[in-house]
């Protein structure tokens, strides 16, 4: 019977058969389990009678013959080979009683009569089982005979025509050359051909003109870009980490590696091995390390509350799921919570696969948003190499100069009779809790501060009029901290207090505790006297936190307790602002406490501005800095700065070469002189530690920056009295400058008035005093407590002089001479400054060297476990790396590492990888896979439309050294590929409505990136630059508004606006909208296939997205200035051809002319509108072009770029 005469009902029956390439069973041949039966059982039965033991009902499974043909729990045999009448399966599917019938009603599945009949025939014919086709290694099939051998250009055509023959269909005629050229370019390069390429192909008379075009296309560097896009979907490449914070990551070197690999036609087996396990290859190259970043493309969670254990597991699962989808075409992820219901992969086997990936070394949870995630490989560009070499040479020269200068210095310690004579007693506590302090700030064993006086209590205070009483059962104490007055601790200083033990109730122990600010250990400075019974610091006995300083004095009279400041961890540079008096098991009076010191107690001033701005500073302001000298007001030195304004005005600097490092309790200061005749309304100081978020002001709240009442805008008081100098002071912590902050910028801001500014900087009790800058011996005592001194020098300085090695002594001395000693500043400052800036530039160049994340194994493998319901907290059995049993017994030299896994994937025995790749390449060329579910070759996947062809292609890959280009060449040179996509009248669409048999070429919408790239290429805007960091083209301004506004999006300039879409910055939680609208995936996980939807949002995008509007405008100017087009028609034809390759038909040309004429008239009446449209966007426009002509042609170009055909591969 000729197919053309088939009745519709019969077509339906044929198409209900799996479209395997053998003829369907209805023609009288035997029923095939694999082809005909398995899909019916899988769909309807396997959920309860399949591979998952947990879900299995009645104790039998239908996916395994042994089980199906044995008695089930109820004693009945589901399948009796050769005897459908006695097979329980048949009885149950035929049961009239709904409660007895299978599949059960609640599954809402029903078997068609044809399916029931097939199952019966299969049992009658012996119920033979066959393994699922995809799990059996492909064998090269013979090429079938066909009705019309003259149509066959290569083997692909034979397989395709054989199926068309069987269905009684004829292939479509070959497409015209313009269509072919465009199709080929879009499929293999993702870009349209130029009009020149199309024309020369159209006029090429050589018989192999098409093959030549294919060769040219395959050798274009654009090929790698096109192929990379698909691979980036699979490999879930993104420029951000995904999850909660979605910080930026640097991964583009991996992307560029992929582009290069495709362009070089790297054999696919190597491509796989290097990506899964490049790091495990012997002596891996940089390229192999970069490739191994494939595994690191996993998202990364930076959320603080997240559990690190959870993410070890999450990342490993993601890698297994990617392995399944990308290489094996299996939905392994189903086995995460339970054994796979349809495919033979158990939950245990799933977790055995995670064991290949869970020992990749990587950070687990980070709150350092935006930080790099090691391990990384650094890949310097040639310009980096050059810059580094130059800077290193510069540094070596400076080191030599410094060494030479050091050799010249003769340093002699200044004479003098030592500091001891100068020691004085500084009192912190006497008679009262000192001013500004908080009493009893910490919860604990406090008693109220109580002062006993001489008259009432019959004792003589050690000092003043009264003493503090502390006592009671157990540990009792009084304390204060945050006193205005602070003790500045210097070398050799001692701390003291007076104590009088109550003779009637003497304690076992007393303790003195000193508070030195949180960054200096807080309360962890303790000395006790007497028994070791007070718990404070007792977990660090013998350290400064719990130091025994001596025994208890006799009760009944005041005794002086003393302790070396250093013994309780208070080294020079420490600042004490609190005390605690503690007793245990008795009562004591405490009096007069403080410090014996030779160090001046006034702070050191680190001056940033006085007569000069600091070295390296970049001076800026609303107007230039204006320096004035006496007789105008000057506070110190020779000159001050002056500023006059009517509104908000300021001068400031940034980038001081030597920033002031902030220490706890530091005070920022500046001097100000408001003019009495023209006072300002507000003065403000601002500090920069990388950001301008630290402000203090005096006077009215008129400056809008920051938030009032916070560190970003703190009011300090009234405007200082005009007509005199005032010192403005701000405690650094009040404006959010924490210890360690580096202040490298300072702003002097005012609202209105005339103001003089002078001497500004940081006053620090922690800083090294002036006299240490002229004496090495003195400085050595300060150096260990000064965090700006390099650690090795501090360490050496902490070693007592006589114990230092010669090397250590030299280190200390050299640093002193190079950086501190006033006598050698003239010599070393210029050298050190140059050396510092060289080091800074070295660090900058080094930090700018591109990096990319790579794979590396932990030294010790992490254990992997079966996780109940996929929950990381519910660990089951421990599992090691192993392949699912469905792939047969492990190979010899079992692949226990990622490298072994990768070698197995690409080995000869693997049944899936070559098929999955061949199928994906087939889909690239034909618009759909032979297996339509590209990521599911399992029993629930779509059956292959041309199974033998798929196996032929897979074996072709094996035979041809895994060449991706050669396989594509084979596909695109076939006659099947060259068919027209025009829908033909006749039976074709009735018999083959989904065109699974390929009776014509498919016509489909371009991908998101291609829609963009195509418009840019048509306009002539597209940049040809390959690779490099991702770029940020136009994106709607408010796109991150309400989402996360601190995400960076700095719109690119120049060429970077016009790079191919694959280079657009890929923010995984918030993809560029024009891509998301065209179905690009977020790439948070592996994606094997993109939808091709058609929505109004897409129409809005191509109509109004600035990228497309500018493309239309530039396309218009390009055809208006083209020498090849002399008149309207010529220009319209040129624009049209650039968009769709073919020339417009007569009716289309007429329509285009009509649009142009109408728009020309409309814009002539609206010259402003014309100018606005004609100059839209960043690209320059030739000013010689008449705006009306330009705008009218832009409107036509906008129409052309919006045509269905323009965004469609035909």
């Amino acid at each position: 019977m000729a197919p053309i005469q088939l009745l519709p009902a019969v077509f339906a029956a044929i198409l209900a058969m799996p479209p395997g390439d053998a003829r369907p069973a209805s023609d009288g041949s035997r029923v095939s389990f694999d082809r005909d039966v398995r899909s019916i059982l899988a769909e309807n039965c396997f959920a309860c009678h399949g591979p998952d033991p947990a879900a299995r009902k009645a104790g039998f499974r239908l996916d395994v013959r042994d089980s199906a043909t044995r008695p089930a729990k109820d004693g009945l045999v589901p399948v009796v080979p050769g005897d459908p009448g006695n097979s329980e399966l048949v009885r149950r599917i035929r049961a009239a009683d709904v409660s007895d019938r299978m599949p059960p009603a609640e599954t809402k599945k029903t078997l068609a009569e044809s399916e029931k009949a097939l199952l019966e025939r299969w049992i009658a014919e012996g119920a033979e089982y066959e393994p699922h086709w995809a799990f059996v290694r492909p064998v090269r099939p013979s090429v079938p005979g066909v009705s019309d051998p003259s149509w066959v250009r290569n083997e692909v055509d034979a397989f395709i025509l054989a199926r068309l023959d069987a269905a009684g269909l004829k292939p479509s005629p070959e497409a015209d050359r313009a269509t072919l050229a465009r199709r080929l370019h879009l499929d293999l390069l993702g870009l349209p051909p130029s009009v020149g390429v199309v024309e020369s192909f159209e006029s090429d008379p050589r018989p192999d003109a098409y093959e030549r075009l294919v060769a040219a296309v395959l050798s274009s560097p654009r090929f790698g870009e096109k192929m990379a896009v698909q691979w980036m979907d699979l490999a879930r490449f993104g420029d951000t980490n995904g999850y909660h914070f979605d910080s930026t990551r640097e991964m583009w070197l991996w992307r560029d590696w992929v582009i290069d690999a495709f362009n070089a036609d790297m054999p696919f087996d190597r491509f796989v091995i290097e990506q899964i396990a490049g790091d495990l290859l012997p002596d891996p190259t940089i390229g192999q390390l970069i490739a191994s970043g494939f595994n690191r493309n996993t998202r990364f969670n930076e959320e603080g509350g997240a559990d690190p254990e959870e993410f070890v597991v999450t990342y490993a699962k993601d890698r297994v799921n990617t392995l399944g989808q990308t290489f094996l075409g299996m939905t392994l992820g189903c086995a995460e919570c339970h054994s796979h219901k349809y495919d033979p992969v158990t939950q245990r086997e799933y977790y055995a696969l995670t064991a290949y990936f869970n020992s990749i070394d990587e950070p687990m949870v980070s709150m350092n948003h935006g930080q790099k995630l090691p391990p990384l490989v650094k890949v310097p560009r040639p310009e980096d190499e050059r810059a580094l070499a130059d800077l290193r040479k510069e540094k070596a020269a400076l080191d030599a100069s410094i060494a030479a200068a050091l050799a010249e210095v003769e340093y002699a310690e200044p004479g003098g009779d030592g500091a001891e004579r100068d020691r004085v007693e500084i009192v912190l506590f006497d008679d009262a809790v000192p001013a500004g302090a908080t009493a009893n700030p910490v919860e604990g064993e406090n008693v109220a501060w109580e002062f006993a006086g001489a008259s009432a209590d019959a004792f003589v205070p050690a000092s003043g009029e009264r003493a503090a009483r502390v006592g009671g059962a157990g540990t009792r104490q009084v304390s204060f901290r945050g006193a205005e007055k602070k003790l500045r601790v210097g070398p050799g200083d001692r701390l003291f207090a007076h104590v009088c033990l109550d003779p009637s109730d003497p304690p076992d122990a007393v303790m003195l505790q000193f508070h030195a600010g949180d960054s200096r250990g807080g309360w962890n400075h303790r000395a006790f006297f007497g028994e070791d019974v007070i718990a404070h610091g007792a977990d660090a006995k013998g350290t400064a936190a719990h130091f025994r300083a001596g025994g208890l004095p006799a009760p009944g009279r005041f005794a002086r307790l003393e302790v070396d400041a250093a013994a309780v961890g208070l080294f020079p540079g420490s600042v004490v602002n609190g005390l605690a008096f503690t007793t245990h098991g008795g009562t004591a009076l405490f009096d007069r406490a403080g410090l014996v010191t030779a160090t001046p107690q006034s702070p050191e001033e680190i001056v940033l501005v006085d007569d000069e701005a600091p070295d390296g500073a970049k001076l800026e302001g609303d107007s230039p800095w204006e320096w004035v000298e006496a007789p105008r007001p000057v506070f110190s030195g020779k000159r001050a700065t002056f500023r006059k304004g009517t509104a908000l005005t300021q001068h400031f600097f940034t980038d001081a070469a030597r920033p002031a490092t902030i220490r706890e309790d530091d005070v920022l200061f500046a001097h100000v002189f408001p003019d009495a005749n023209d006072p300002p309304r507000t003065v403000m100081l601002q500090w920069n530690d990388g950001a301008w978020e630290h402000r203090a002001y005096w006077g009215e709240d008129l400056v809008p920056w920051g938030k009032d009442g916070t560190a970003s805008r703190r009011r300090m008081g009234e405007l200082p009295e005009p007509g005199r100098w005032a010192r403005l002071e701000v405690t650094a912590s009040d404006v959010g400058l924490a210890p360690g902050a580096k202040v490298s910028g300072f702003a002097f801001t005012q609202v209105g008035g005339s103001v003089y500014w002078d001497r500004a900087g940081v006053a620090s009790l922690s800083a090294v005093p002036a006299r240490a800058r002229v004496s090495l011996a003195e400085w050595e005592a300060w150096a260990p407590g000064d965090e700006r001194v390099p650690a090795d020098v501090r360490e050496a300085a902490a070693v007592p002089g006589e114990k230092r090695t010669a090397e250590q002594s030299k280190l200390v001395r050299d640093h002193f001479l190079r950086r501190v000693f006033e006598g050698t500043r003239e010599t070393f400052d210029p050298l050190e400054e140059r050396r510092d800036s060289t080091l800074k530039r070295l660090a900058e160049v080094d930090a700018a060297i591109p990096t990319t994340m790579i794979s590396r194994e932990l030294p010790e493998r992490r254990p992997a476990y079966v996780l109940e319901r996929g929950d990381f907290l519910q660990r089951g059995e421990e599992v090691g790396p192993a392949l699912p049993a469905l792939f047969g017994a492990p190979l010899s030299g079992a692949p226990e590492s990622r490298l072994g896994l990768a070698r197995w994937l690409t080995g000869d025995e693997n049944p899936l990888v070559a098929r999955v790749l061949a199928n994906r390449l087939f889909a690239l060329a034909f618009g759909e896979g032979i297996v339509r579910s590209l990521g599911d070759f399992g029993t629930q996947g779509d059956p292959p439309s041309h199974g033998a062809l798929l196996d032929w292609l897979a074996t072709e890959l094996h035979l041809d050294g895994w060449s991706v280009k050669e396989l594509l060449r084979t596909l695109v040179t076939s006659a099947a590929y060259r068919q027209s996509s025009v829908v033909r009248p006749g039976p074709h669409d009735e018999v083959d409505p989904e065109n699974r048999l390929l009776h014509r070429a498919r016509r489909f919408r371009l991908s998101a990136e291609e829609v963009r790239d195509n418009a840019l290429a048509v306009a002539g805007l597209l940049s040809e630059k390959i690779g490099g960091p991702s770029v940020m083209p136009y994106q709607p301004d408010d796109f991150y508004k309400g989402k996360k506004e601190d995400w960076p999006w700095e719109t690119a300039t120049g060429e970077d606006l016009w790079r191919r879409g694959l280079y657009t910055f890929w923010r995984r939680t918030c993809l560029h909208p024009s891509f998301a609208i065209f179905d690009a995936p977020s790439r948070e996980q592996c994606v094997v296939w993109r939808a091709r939807t058609n929505t109004p949002l897409q129409a809005l995008t191509t109509m109004n997205d600035p990228t497309f509007v500018e493309a239309a405008r530039v396309l218009a100017q390009s055809v208006l200035t083209a020498s090849s087009a002399a008149d309207d028609v010529g220009r319209l034809k040129l624009a049209f051809r650039r968009a769709v390759a073919r020339p417009p038909s007569a009716t289309e040309t007429a329509k285009l002319r009509e649009i142009l004429d109408r728009e020309r008239a409309a814009f002539a009446a609206d010259p402003d509108g014309a100018r606005a449209l004609a100059s839209f966007g960043a690209t320059p426009r030739p000013e010689t072009l008449d705006p009306v002509e330009h705008a009218a042609m832009t409107a036509v170009a906008n129409v052309i770029l919006n045509l269905d055909e323009t965004v469609t591969r035909e």
Binding site: T331, S933, D936, V1088, N1202, L1203
Partner: protein, 480 residues
């Protein structure tokens, strides 16, 4: 679940259109109709289309979900616990805490001290349901709402918990409820997107577009976010020099040329493209008209409160939500962030309720006034609740940690019984003691109100039939 090939749905359906004998019947066909012809959306609306009728008599036609991102505190707002006041500052009993997993934020705190709400509770409405004095306006509609106090979820961190509330599972990649509903029912508006999302509130939690994504459903079912600044819908505005009339002419030109091509190649996809352009052009008029609140009387604006005039606020979004459902939009979801009160429950709750209480109540009242409440289901709630114990020092500005074991949501309109309270938690507000309601149950009920059997709205993907309620979900019968 792992991602698989999203079946190239539209493309297949377009070719299937002429060959329906192969297509199984089902709700998906409503979706088909909506792709082929937006006017068919109206024809294919819930009742009576031959291609697929609803499973039950629908009560609601539309949904407005007021999503309170971050996890509002049930013990401070909806679930009064005198016991917490009594035991304030004392360790929670071990048997109440149970073997729970807590976040790293309180795991290392070392104590779990009961913390009372600083706010009073009062009986509201005829039903006398107790609600926080922070919610005077929602209290005022107490008899319209069904308060569920026994909702519980599984994940303890925001991202998976929001994902769970949106999609019925904690892993990313599944369609959200708005996508399921519009996939099943299409839309009644020919000029506006079917599923609209708006964001408001402080920027403490990111709202990735994944939360309103269609997963493996075709991407036209994903939520369209209305932007708070610039064009409300991306790329809605024409470039300079292109007036509305000119755009109309150019769209007609595009479609004329597309028809010429369609005549040559015979691909029905081109017809779909023509329809898309027509709808896009209509949206260019309909969306600005929608967003222009100039026609709203001052009394209505005042009802929503002073913020109603400011784009980007919750109050403004509520008013726009009403205008959207009025125009037949099927699913509107407002995300309002800022409920993640780890540090200062007292002040943060004041801020949050000041922004949301009045507009939420006004929305319900406004819908009722217009006769729309009966057919519009309003859902109010977050992804989880907050712990009965305090986070931080109770003598200072303490907060509460995430709490998935119980939390409160309320429903109103769309066939929901008002003045009803469902479920009960223990005297600490820590565990459910009666009538537990799982997130999947909430979803099942939502679909039920729309006339959909949650077990029968499915989509085949990766070899499996997926649904919003995964493998669970049962109707909350007291609610309907």
């Amino acid at each position: 679940m792992t991602p698989d090939m999203p079946h190239d749905f539209v493309e297949r359906l377009l070719t299937r259109r002429r060959f329906l004998t192969r297509t199984s019947a089902g709700l998906g066909l409503l979706a088909v109709a909506s792709i082929l012809d937006p006017k068919a959306l109206v024809r294919a609306a819930p009742s009576g289309d031959a291609l697929g009728s609803p499973h039950f008599q629908p009560r609601a036609k539309r949904v407005i979900h007021l999503f309170m991102g971050g996890g509002p505190s049930h013990v401070d707002l909806f679930d009064p616990k005198p016991k917490l006041r009594e035991l304030h500052g004392e360790e929670m009993p071990k048997d109440v805490l149970g073997q729970q997993r807590v976040t790293l934020m309180t795991r290392n705190q070392g104590h779990f001290r009961a913390a009372t709400t600083p706010y009073g509770f009062s009986r509201r409405g005829a039903s006398g349901v107790e609600m926080s004095d922070l919610l005077p306006h929602i209290g005022g509609i107490a008899d319209e709402i069904c308060l569920i106090r026994s909702l519980h979820t599984e994940p303890i961190n925001h991202d998976p918990a929001v994902t769970f509330m949106q999609t019925g599972r904690p892993q990313p990649g599944l369609p959200c409820m708005g996508s399921w509903v519009t996939y099943g029912l299409g839309s009644e508006s020919a000029d506006l997107p079917r599923f609209v999302v708006m964001l408001s509130g402080p920027f403490d939690q990111p709202i990735p577009s994944r939360y309103y994504h269609s997963g493996f459903l075709p991407s036209e079912y994903q939520g369209v976010q209305f932007q708070p600044g610039g064009d409300p819908v991306l790329y809605l505005g024409n470039p300079p020099g292109v007036t509305k009339e000119k755009r109309g002419a150019l769209v007609a030109d595009v479609n004329d040329l597309n028809r010429m091509r369609c005549d040559c190649v015979g691909d029905p996809e081109i017809e779909a493209r023509i329809t898309s352009f027509e709808l896009a052009f209509r949206m260019q008029t309909a969306v600005p008209e929608l967003m222009d609140l100039g026609s709203e009387p001052a009394s209505v604006l005042d009802m929503y409160g002073p913020d109603a005039r400011t784009p980007g606020t919750f109050a403004h979004n509520c008013l726009v939500a009403r205008r959207l459902v009025e125009r037949g939009v099927r699913f509107v979801q407002l995300f309002h962030r800022g409920w993640d009160a780890h540090g200062n429950i007292v002040n943060e709750l004041k801020r949050q309720t000041a922004a949301t209480d009045r507009p939420s109540a006004a929305l319900v009242a406004d819908l009722k006034m217009r006769g729309l409440l009966d057919e519009t289901l309003v859902v109010w709630g977050g992804e989880f609740g907050r712990t009965a114990y305090g986070q931080g020092d109770l003598s200072g500005a303490f907060g509460r940690d995430h709490h998935p074991r119980c939390f409160s949501v309320w429903l109103a309109g769309g066939g929901i019984r008002g003045g009803v309270t469902i479920g009960e938690t223990d005297e600490f507000g820590y565990n459910v003691v009666s009538d537990p309601v799982h997130v999947n149950d909430l979803h099942a009920t939502l679909l039920y109100c729309l006339g959909i059997d949650h077990e029968r709205l499915t989509f085949r993907f990766g070899g499996r039939d997926f649904r919003l309620t995964d493998v669970a979900g049962k109707l909350i019968s007291q609610a309907t």
